[in-house]
């Protein structure tokens, strides 16, 4: 059994084997909508190889990180609930 790595997803603790990608940790946390599209639709991993950009999450405060390309690190803070922008209405 590989060494375990502890990190957080949306503030909750998740433990994964060393070498697991952030996308796996997010999935283990039970999250299926990794991010929201510009019109608020849920998005999640499609290609798993860094090409589709659908699995982007916020890692340690840095937005738009492709979760399928970044290995988990101890203490990492992952968020999938970044602010949803409402672009469907006129602000005035």
């Amino acid at each position: 059994m590989a060494e375990a790595v502890k990190l957080s997803v949306n503030g909750g603790p998740v433990t994964v084997p060393a070498g697991a990608m952030v996308s796996a940790a997010v999935a283990l946390a039970g999250v299926s909508a990794f991010r929201k599209s510009v019109n608020g639709e849920p998005r999640g991993p499609l290609c798993g190889m860094g090409t589709c950009f659908e699995c982007r999450v916020t890692v340690n405060g840095r937005a738009h990180v492709r979760s399928c390309q970044v290995p988990c690190e101890a203490g990492m803070e992952v968020r999938t609930d970044a602010i949803l922008l409402d672009v469907t209405r006129n602000p005035v």
């Binding site: 510009v38 840095r62 937005a63 738009h64 602010i83 922008l85 672009v87 469907t88 209405r89 006129n90 602000p91 005035v92």
Partner: protein, 370 residues
């Protein structure tokens, strides 16, 4: 398509669309000839900044009048126009530029434009991603941002305006000759083809001025107002050298739109890496954190520049039936609505809210600011 129209407009950018909308609102029959998508040229390439500029009294008059027309229209704009009343922050790097801030403030006070002087701390609080140590800024609250191609489409859709999806190959004395040889007869013909206007009306003083832009992924709150370095004015004024200036804009999507560059004599639409590099270097000098953001697209466009930095709005000397509506340089989105209004005023012979003379094609042009 009818046999003849009161007004035939070549060019379906935001200026052509605004002219069409105003002529139609005045009860005239109008056709717009545009081979590409509506607002697909410089209208789509530009930043969509609605801003009062004070290079000259005539520029103040036109931008202020037009901004007022945008404010009046704001509530009617559909969501896809992404109207964002975020204001403009003119950023002063040092004390010499604070003197310019105070000069601008005085001008704006004199014309009733809300403007607030910020010291270094207030600027840092308003825009925390600017680098520390800047001298201050001038915040102009009623400036805004739109997504201009959708605004152009909205202007055409709200009035009865016909569209012909063809290229205008010639503006004749009696209308527009199309690519397929068809002639559209019109009482008044308008050349609103932006930087390409000299191809249809040879001899007019309009030159292409190339610009580069970059847009990032979504980083809501990274910038709050449209940020422009006061050095921008030097860049915009240069009539010869290639120049860049820091200009960062928030979009409704949370994206950051980054400019700007200015080049004469560049006809190729390709991205020029050295210009892009200079532009982004300049941006990072003001906002070091920009280097951490992901860019999703870069592109270029062509401004229609005139020697005196004012557009050409009105009839061509010697041909009272051929009008120009071009030469808006970097202010075409801002001044489109006023352009449409002033053009329609002249076509139907009614008084204008501001004098038309400074923008008439027949004026004597002197290059401003060397």
């Amino acid at each position: 398509m009818r046999a003849s129209y009161d007004v035939a407009i070549a060019g379906g950018g935001i200026v052509g669309a605004a002219c069409a909308a105003e002529c139609a609102a005045a009860g005239l029959s109008v056709v717009v000839v545009e081979p590409g998508p509506i607002g697909g040229g410089a209208t789509a390439a530009g930043m969509g900044h609605i801003v009062v500029m004070d290079d000259s009294p005539a520029q103040v008059a036109l931008t202020l009048y037009s901004r007022q027309l945008w404010i009046e229209l704001a509530r009617e704009l559909p969501a896809d126009v992404e109207y964002l009343p975020c204001g403009t922050m003119w950023v002063a790097a040092g004390e010499d530029e604070m003197a310019e801030v105070r000069r601008k403030k005085q001008v704006y006070d004199g014309i009733g434009v809300k403007a607030e002087v910020l010291g270094p701390q207030a600027l840092a609080e308003a825009e925390p991603n600017l680098r520390p140590g800047l001298a201050g800024g001038l915040f102009v609250a009623d400036d805004s941002v739109i997504y201009a191609p959708c605004a152009a489409r909205f202007l055409l859709d709200r009035r009865p305006v016909e569209r012909v999806a063809q290229r205008a190959v010639e503006l004749t004395r009696d209308g527009i000759k199309l690519h397929d040889g068809t002639a559209i007869a019109a009482g008044i013909t308008v050349n609103a083809t932006g930087a390409w206007a000299p191809e249809l009306t040879p001899g007019i003083e309009v030159r292409k001025r190339k610009g580069h832009l970059v847009i990032t992924d979504r980083y809501p709150g990274f910038v709050h107002a449209v940020l422009i370095e006061l050095g921008y004015l030097k860049s915009a004024h240069s009539t010869t050298a290639d120049s860049v200036a820091f200009n960062a804009q928030p979009r409704r999507t949370g994206q950051v739109l980054l400019g700007s560059s200015r080049q004469y004599g560049a006809e190729d639409t390709a991205i020029e890496t050295h210009m892009l590099h200079r532009m982004l270097q300049r941006a990072r000098e003001y906002m070091p954190g920009l280097g951490e953001l992901t860019a999703v697209r870069t592109w270029t466009g062509f401004r229609a520049a005139t020697p005196d930095k004012l557009p050409l709005i009105g009839p061509v000397p010697g041909n009272e039936r051929l009008y120009l509506a071009t030469g808006h340089e970097g202010l075409g989105i801002t001044t489109s609505l006023a352009t449409g209004r002033l053009l329609a005023d002249q076509v139907v012979g009614r008084p204008s809210a501001i004098p038309c003379e400074p923008y008439l094609p027949g004026r004597k042009q002197e290059a401003s600011h060397g």
